[in-house]
Symmetry: C2
Subunit: 382 residues, 2 copies
């Protein structure tokens, strides 16, 4: 327990009626041992993403309506940083993912993805930019845009998005199709794609579609619906992403260069009415890659993190994914690239889980997407 939560536990014992709800740290049974859950911070609005700063400086967190804050390792919540761009905070839009430059110690660069309005006020798209974190950690300096999803088609849904740097320093952006299904198959549009760019926004010469006419050269893979989770597999160096299905059919994919992941032609989602998704041809179609893993009942999966920390041995080679509708943290046991077992955790919290990351201390850090959202620290008693 941190000194703050230790102090709070004293206060709780002293001031609050003795109930299961009063404890600052609670435990829940799980297959691998007792989960310990403590609330590091609360009262935050629609938390979306977090990124750890080096040297125990805590973490950057985003609130969807447009705040970027620093929360200290012991849970002190800082004021919103200045220098953050104006975001289009409507529907699912707003300030979304945050990632640090691979050379953060040298360049202090912070990358943000967010919904940006089209100027007409009615449409928006996903934009990615970067700014330099000031030495006093109070603002982003010289923020500039390095990527814009074109055309701007969203009326409020399916912005994605996640930002992942690979080992060679390329930046992957996992996007949504702005709820405009067919665009995920249009290679001249940036909806429903994974794109791959350089940290300054330039297009790598070895991208799969470079030099082809009527194709956006940023495209890495296509046929995606709404990707809200992505992470680099620490054991293979490959990008993994996840996406929401329509009604059912949430997927995990390993996007390969130039490949088609099927949406909306192929989906495992089903409709309880008699009307299928207009473009859907079935669960599989010629030329589209099947998902690595699929859920027929949509948990509404979001941020994900591979567990590669020595702290909790039982979690080694596991993949954790937040679930919004299911209000759980999903634990997937991996054997190579195969999912061999699934466990649902933290259901007792009844909270929409938007993001999960592994801290430098080996604990899981979990964000809940609520009007009164919380940052949770989750460990294991072995």
């Amino acid at each position: 327990m941190s000194s703050r939560t230790w102090l709070l536990s004293l206060c709780a014992a002293a001031l609050l009626p003795l109930t299961a709800t009063a404890a600052p740290e609670r435990t829940f049974p799980s297959e691998e041992g007792q989960l310990t859950v403590s609330t590091l911070a609360e009262g935050l609005k629609n938390l979306w993403a977090l990124a750890f700063l080096p040297d125990g400086q805590g973490m950057l967190v985003t609130e969807r309506q447009g705040n970027l804050r620093i929360i200290s390792a012991d849970g002190k919540v800082g004021s919103p940083l200045s220098g953050v761009p104006q975001v289009w905070a409507k529907g699912q839009g707003g300030l979304l993912d945050v990632a640090l430059s691979p050379q953060f110690e040298q360049d202090r660069m912070v990358y943000l993805s967010y919904a940006e309005g089209g100027g007409d006020g009615d449409t928006a798209g996903t934009t990615v930019g970067r700014g330099r974190l000031s030495s006093d950690n109070l603002r982003l300096d010289d923020f500039n845009v390095i990527f814009r999803q074109q055309p701007k088609l969203s009326s409020g849904n399916h912005f994605g998005s996640r930002l992942v740097f690979d080992r060679d320093g390329y930046l992957f952006i996992a996007l949504g199709e702005n709820n405009q299904r067919p665009t995920a198959q249009d290679l001249d549009k940036l909806q429903g794609k994974v794109v791959r760019i350089l940290p300054d926004g330039q297009v790598p010469k070895d991208n799969p579609f470079v030099g082809q006419s009527n194709v956006r050269p940023e495209v890495w893979s296509y046929g995606h619906r709404n990707q809200q989770g992505a992470a680099l597999n620490p054991w293979t160096g490959e990008l993994w992403t996840n996406e929401h299905g329509p009604r059912g059919g949430d997927e995990i994919n390993i996007p390969k260069p130039g490949k088609n992941y099927g949406w909306p032609l192929a989906t495992h989602g089903i409709n309880y009415s008699l009307l299928p998704i207009p473009e859907a041809k079935g669960k599989r179609v010629e030329g589209a890659v099947d998902p690595l893993h699929v859920w027929e009942k949509s948990p509404a999966i979001s941020g994900m993190a591979f567990y590669d920390n020595p702290r909790f041995k039982a979690w080694d080679h596991n993949l954790f994914i937040g679930a919004l509708a299911a209000q759980e943290l999903i634990r997937l046991q991996l054997d190579g690239d195969k999912v061999v077992h699934e466990e649902r955790l933290l259901g007792q919290l009844n909270a929409r889980i938007r993001d999960v990351r592994v801290g430098p201390d080996g604990f899981l850090y979990v964000l809940t997407d609520e009007s009164d959202g919380a940052l949770l620290k989750v460990g294991l008693t072995q």
Copy 2:
């Protein structure tokens, strides 16, 4: 298959791409055999309740925004009936439950529960009234109010409600606390109560609190939160109700006269933040009855039905409950008044299930709470 769904299946085969989503009847595995699911009607908005008419005349269904319709046994959807009262359709409010008089063949009386505005436009409460279904089934005549929840305190949440007649013809109304927690313990208010009245609204002389000062004589039991399911146990003749917990703690209760069911003093709900529910003293408190069954993770349970039809033997003595957040149909196997086994059904539909009833043909009839809601007919292949 009804003639309509048989015809539709021909059309589907002829006109629609061959996909899992196109079939008018689908099957899903379950512990007791293959579930068969057909969509009788769709394109209905926020369906809330249904009641079967006698002699194969189909069923009355409510749409929350204020429509009462008749759907024929083969799924033809009628126009909204006239003579239905104006409802306060905000938040969770609107037209809610529908029930037939126990002497419907003679009196044609239809009972409705609904949210009614307080006149100031800001507050509302649950009201119950009845009208006579015209012989042409097109309107309710002489609708009059027989019960009003007093005072009107809701700003949009926790109206309940369900209507259940017992074997002696008493009408039970399962209510919510209008999201005003402490009122569930105030016996001079009708929030958070089960009330028991005569079909014309008079108060039975043998109600538990009759004659006591500062107590509403309609009160049967108290300490309830938001009751959205109720049914008469066909084997005991007792009323069963269910209610939503805060975060976790959904409950099934058997309300006994004059008893306290605990809310908000006793709850199994927990809060992931450090702040407990202000009034909560724990999961149990002196003088309050423990729930018969409780869920620590809230499925957000709604309408429920006991299965007492010879059609599907494997379901005998089962209790079915719709789940909104969990998007499932919950099957509870009973041994007397004990829940001995739970199964979750229809998760593959990814649909909020608002109500379930057993039809005269022994099939389950299920309503989905969606902007494009459906009436589903669910059977079992044994």
